[in-house]
Amino acid sequence: MGILVENISKSYKNVAAVKDISFEVKPGELYGLIGPDGAGKTTLFRILTTLLVADKGQAKVAGYDVVQDYKNIRHSVGYMPGRFSLYQDLTIEENLNFFATIFGTSIEENYDLIKDVYEQIEPFKNRRAGKLSGGMKQKLALSCALIHKPKVLFLDEPTTGVDPVSRKEFWEMLKRLQQKDITILVSTPYMDEAALCDRIALIQEGKILEIDSPEAIVKKIPKKIYDIYASNMYGLLTALKDFEHAHSVFPFGEFVHYTDKREGFDSNELKIYLENKNLQDVSISLTEPDIEDVFMELSRK
C-alpha cells in the first residue's frame, strides 16, 4: 500500500522537469525526497497526487494506478501542497470542518489522529487562517490533510518558511504519524531534515542521484571531510579553490568543507599554505560527513 514509481518522465513544453525516475516507498515508511528548488519534486508530487499526467512511465499509490484509478487515490491520500492552500477567510475550525465534510467524515471521528497536531492550534480555532503564523498554518494544513485518515500522506516542502522550533516539532509529529500506519512521502530542501527520514532519494535536475537510508548514504562518501575555519571566509574560499590538491570546497555554516584529491593528506601543509595567503585564525579538523556533503559530492558529477 505504499508508492511505486516506474520510469516516470514529465516535460513542460521543452523543459524536462522529471527524467525517468523510479523508486519505491514501502508501506508505513517515512520517505524523503531531498533536493534543491527546481529539482522536480513538486512535479513528481503532482503526478503522484493525480494532478498531472506523466508523459512516460507508471506509478501506483496505495495500490491504485495514478491515471486509471485517480478517483480512488483522491479518496485515500492526504496532500499538503508547497504553498499554503487553505481558505484564508475561514477560521481554523471551519477549514478543518470543511475538509472533514468533503471527505465524508467529521472532526470527532478522526480526532485521535490529528490530536497531537490540532491540540496546539485549538486555542485559536476561531481565528481566520489568513492571520496565523507560518508554523500554525503548517499545523492546520497538516491537520486538514490528515482529517480523513489517509493511507498515504504527501507533504511538499512542509517546513519551508517555518521557524526552526516549529520545524523540529513538525518532524516529531511526522514520526508519530508513522506509528499509525500512514505512509509518508515528504520533500524538503533542508539536508538536516533528511536525516530524520527512513530512506531518502537525492534528486537534482529531475534525476535521482542516490537512494538509501540516511546513515547508509553518508557512508558512501569515499573522501574524508575537513572543517576549515579562518577569520576571512571569502579569502579562505578563494585560497582553497586555488589549492592544487583541492577536490571539493564549499561553505558550510561558519566553516568550509574541504576534501583533498590525495589519499595521504597532511593538514599542516594546508595550514601553512593558507597562512601564507595571509589568512588568520586558521583551524583544520576532520569531521563526520553529512547528507549535504553527499549531495555536493554526487552533484559534482
Binding site: R46, T49, T50, L51, L52, V53, Y70, K71, R74, H75, V77, Y79, P81, R83, F84, S85, L86, Y87, Q88, D89, L90, E94, N97, F98, F99, T101, I102, F103, G104, C144
Partner: protein, 368 residues
C-alpha cells in the same frame, strides 16, 4: 449530499466575509436602478428654448403662448435678430430656437401658408429630434384649432395611442433592462471570480485531490449565487413598483421563474469563463467587457434592435440578454403569459444547456 452541503456552506462564508463583493452584490442593483430611473432619461421636460418673433402678430403670439404653456418647454428669452441665434446656441443654455418669418399672419391669410423655422441643438441628436417632434405637434394642433369650422374637401386625422406605456416613461424600459444587466453581471462575474480565486490561491489543487466531483464543485459554486441573484431580482422589481410606480401587468410568479432561468443561464456563462481563464483579473475583465457591452448595446435595452444594421441584428441573437429583455418587458408591460414567450424561454433553456455542457467538458479534472 452532506459533502455538497458542506461545500455550499463554505461558499456562503466566502461571500458574507468579503465586504467588497457583498457591496457589489447588493449596492450595484440599487445604485443602477436609481441612476437609470432618475438621472438618465430620454424624456423631454421643461426644455429651455428661445423665440425670434419677426412678425409679432396674433398668430405668432398664440403659438408662442401655446408652446410656453406646455410642460415640455420653457421660453427662456426672446431674440431680436437672426444674428443672435448662433450666439444663443453657443451659450448653451437653450436647446432650440423658434423663428417666425416676417408678416407671418399676412402670409397665412393671403397665401394660406406661413413659415416657422425650428432650429435645434443637435449635439445630442436624440433630444434634438424629440424636441422638433414635440414642437411640430404643438404647431399642428394649433393649426387644427384654427381650421375648425372651415370646410375642407377631406382631411386625414391620425389618432395616435401609445399602448403599454402611454406616458412614454423611460423608466419602464430601464427597469427590465437594468434587471437584465444586474442579473447577468452579478451571476456571471461573481461565479467566474469565485472559481478562478480557488485556482489562484491554490485551493483548487486540494479540491481536485478530494472525493468531490467536478459536478459537485460547479453546482456548489452556483447554488449560493442563484439565491443571491433572486434576492437581487426581487429588490429591483420592488424598487420598480414602489419608487417608479411601474405596473407589473403580468404574472409575478412567471416573471420570477423566468428570472431564475436567466440567472442560471448567466451562471453557466460565468462557469464557462472560469474554465477558460486562470486569474481573477482576467475573469473579471472578460465578464465586464465581454458581457456588459453586448448586454447594453446589443440586447435592445437602449438601442432598438430593429434599427440596427442587419449583421448586428444577427449577432444580437446570440446575446442571452436580448431574449430575457423581451421576456421581462412582455411580462411587466404587456402582461403576456408563457404562451407568447415560449420561443424566448426555449432559446434561453437551450443556451443554458449548451453553456453547462461546454463547461463540464472544459472543466479540468487535473491541473493542466
Amino acid at each position: 449530499m452532506k459533502r455538497f452541503l458542506g461545500f455550499v456552506r463554505k461558499e456562503f462564508y466566502h461571500i458574507f466575509r468579503d465586504k467588497r463583493s457583498l457591496f457589489i452584490l447588493f449596492g450595484m442593483p440599487v445604485a443602477q436602478i436609481l441612476l437609470f430611473g432618475f438621472a438618465i432619461t430620454n424624456e423631454i421636460n421643461n426644455v429651455d428654448i428661445a423665440v425670434l418673433n419677426q412678425s409679432k402678430d396674433v398668430n405668432t403670439q398664440e403659438i408662442t403662448q401655446k408652446i410656453d404653456a406646455s410642460k415640455y418647454f420653457t421660453i427662456k428669452r426672446f431674440l431680436t435678430s437672426e444674428k443672435e441665434i448662433e450666439e444663443a446656441f453657443k451659450k448653451g443654455d437653450i436647446k432650440a430656437v423658434i423663428n417666425f418669418e416676417k408678416d407671418f399672419s399676412e402670409h397665412l391669410i393671403k397665401e394660406g401658408q406661413g413659415s416657422i423655422q425650428i432650429l435645434t441643438d443637435a449635439t445630442d441628436p436624440n433630444t434634438a429630434s424629440a424636441i422638433t417632434n414635440y414642437i411640430s405637434s404643438i404647431i399642428q394642433s394649433y393649426q387644427q384649432q384654427q381650421n375648425q369650422g372651415v370646410q375642407m374637401d377631406y382631411q386625414i386625422h391620425p389618432e395616435v395611442r401609445m399602448v403599454y406605456n402611454p406616458e412614454l416613461k423611460s423608466v419602464f424600459m430601464f427597469v427590465p433592462g437594468v434587471m437584465t444587466i444586474i442579473l447577468m453581471l452579478v451571476s456571471a462575474m461573481m461565479t467566474s471570480i469565485s472559481i478562478t480565486r480557488e485556482k489562484e490561491l491554490g485551493t483548487m489543487e486540494i479540491l481536485l485531490v478530494s472525493p468531490l466531483s467536478s459536478f459537485q464543485v460547479i453546482v456548489g459554486k452556483v447554488v449560493p449565487y442563484i439565491f443571491l441573484s433572486m434576492i437581487n431580482a426581487a429588490i429591483i422589481i420592488f424598487l420598480g413598483i414602489t419608487v417608479f410606480k411601474m405596473p407589473i401587468a403580468g404574472n409575478l410568479i412567471l416573471l420570477g421563474l423566468e428570472s431564475v432561468l436567466f440567472i442560471i443561464t448567466s451562471l453557466a456563462l460565468g462557469i464557462l469563463i472560469s474554465t477558460m481563464v486562470k486569474t481573477q483579473q482576467t475573469a473579471m475583465m472578460i465578464s465586464l467587457m465581454g458581457l456588459m457591452l453586448p448586454v447594453i448595446l446589443l440586447s435592445g435595452f437602449i438601442f432598438p434592435i430593429s434599427s440596427m444594421p442587419p449583421p448586428l441584428q444577427v449577432i444580437s441573437n446570440i446575446v442571452p440578454a436580448k431574449w430575457f429583455i423581451t421576456i421581462a418587458k412582455g411580462i411587466m408591460l404587456k402582461g403576456v403569459g408563457l404562451g407568447y414567450l415560449l420561443k424566448e424561454t426555449l432559446i434561453l433553456i437551450g443556451m443554458t444547456v449548451f453553456f453547462i455542457a461546454l463547461s463540464i467538458k472544459k472543466y479540468k479534472i487535473r491541473l493542466e
